[in-house]
């Protein structure tokens, strides 16, 4: 009698929204310049489905970064073009699956796409890769929970707006924050996130950049 409820795997659907205030900085490698955005940010929406220890989710976020001086260089299969005084729109898409191998620690795989679009210029760049990572949380009390994740993409492809491969890259991301449970359905969160990208183009130029962000978010979650 007492085991009935526990025998049923709980299914939960969660919708989330996230606002990031971020800065994008890096260097264009040999022969290039350092760059740093003066303002930037992204807004994201996500959905997650969890059944027992398994979860899957989709995250999309988009925003723009303004570079008054030097900006990331643009690469095509045959050329490298300097860039400055430009606004770059960045769109992130994550499709992930994960499993809580321990009660509060999960391992996940994430197919990640990052598209950088030089606004007002006919150039886009997409980085696509499969990453793996680990996430976890620590409940502090009934209301507060700490959470964090770390993951990396060992190898991803970089393509230009004509879908030509222009290079390869790696990436890692680190995120930490806290969640406040308003009640059983409403949750707010805040934290920090840093993402590092190391690109190597076909002409052997190495371009690195980092995006650091503070974020706040809201999740609406309910059992199915």
């Amino acid at each position: 009698m007492l085991c009935i409820n526990n025998a049923l795997a709980e299914q939960r659907l969660t919708f989330g929204a996230k606002l990031l205030a971020a800065g994008w900085n890096g260097d264009n490698g040999a022969g290039g310049s350092d760059f740093e955005s003066d303002e930037g940010g992204q807004f994201g929406l996500n959905i997650a489905y969890k059944v027992d220890r398994f979860y899957t989710g989709l995250n999309f976020q988009r925003g723009a970064y303004n570079f008054k001086n030097d900006a990331p260089d643009k690469f095509t299969p045959s050329a490298r073009v300097s860039s400055s005084n430009v606004k770059i729109q960045q769109s992130d898409l994550d499709l992930l699956v994960g499993y809580y191998f321990w009660s509060q620690v999960s391992l996940f795989a994430d197919i990640k796409s990052v598209t950088n679009n030089w606004l007002d210029e006919p150039y886009k760049q997409n980085f696509l890769g499969l990453g793996i990572g680990s996430s976890g949380y620590i409940p502090l009390n009934e209301k507060w929970t700490l959470f964090g994740s770390f993951g990396f993409i060992g190898r991803g492809e970089i393509r230009d707006n004509d879908d030509n491969k222009v290079g390869e890259g790696t990436s890692w991301a680190l995120e930490a924050g806290t969640v406040y449970s308003i009640n059983e359905r409403h949750f707010v969160n805040a934290g920090i996130k840093t993402r590092k990208y190391n690109f190597e183009y076909l002409d052997n130029t190495k371009q690195d950049y980092t995006i650091n962000a503070l974020f706040i978010g809201y999740n609406y979650s309910f059992a199915l």
């Binding site: 009698m1 007492l2 409820n5 709980e10 992930l96 994430d110 996430s135 993951g151 969640v179 059992a223």
Partner: protein, 343 residues
Amino acid sequence: MRNPIIKQTLGIVVAMLCFYSSVSHDVLAADSRGITIEKTVNTQGSNINRGVYRALIIGNNQYQDQQGKWQSLTTAITDAREVARLLAEQYGFSDIKLLENATRRDVLFALEDLANRSLKNDNVLIYYAGHGFLDDETNKGFWVPVDADGDDHTTFLRNSTIRDEVSSIASRVQHTLLISDSCFSGSLLRTASRGITEADYTEKYFEKVSNKKSVQIMAAGGFEYVDDDYRESGHSPFTYFLINELKTNNSPMFTVSQLSGNVERAVANNVDQVPESGVLQGAGDELGEFIFIKMDVAVEGVDPDRVKVEVNVIPGEDARKDTIIIEQKPPLTKQKVVPIPTL
């Protein structure tokens, strides 16, 4: 299912209870003048009710409500455990079922089970600690089980259902006491005074009320909200003072009227909450009294080893060994919703 062997119960008793026929500590203190206080096994001669003491103790902390209306409590299980321990160790309850984080079905099943195993002369106590709910429009009260779903009243336990179940138990036994430590629990009862003053607590009185049927209720509050944790004691205010009264009581016989009066005053004096007590309407109360028999009363000037109080136990069973049967839900993993990780 009834247990036929229970009919052969040993009686309450003791020399002390016999002495208590004159109910005077002066007489008890006469031990120093050569009167020996020791256990008497004679039960036939006692006029005090000789039933077994049974209890169903329910404590609900971990509410599963996905709609967020019923937040988890912090003290209900602690309250329930302490009440169960106290009844077993100090008041001779030999049949206690402790139900933690009970669903609606669990509660109904346990009440039915309790009714089935209770016998004619038994004394049955039902204790509930958990959320309560009052429908403002209909003025109907409810217990809220851990599987309650938001505002869906059909997932609650309606007062009328509780009354029916308790009435079913009361129809089988001599004394029934329902203690409800939840919001709006006063909606369960009808206030009734037994008209007894402090001076009336004589052996004659105890005999009289013991042999009359009783169906009594103690409620943590009337039509009001009640607190969860009292001064970080780990107990609700009502149960804190209930436990305190039961612990500090030094009378071998202690009626619910005495207990409820003391608890009501203590709670009302300390928090913004007024407990109520009375009878369960329509359940056959005959102005009897549920009597708590304290096992370890101290008698001034008498060696504690020589003061022995016993209440009836179930023959053939080791009353001390398995007095409390715990039905405990595995701890629920409190649902923690964290943002999905991304790279």
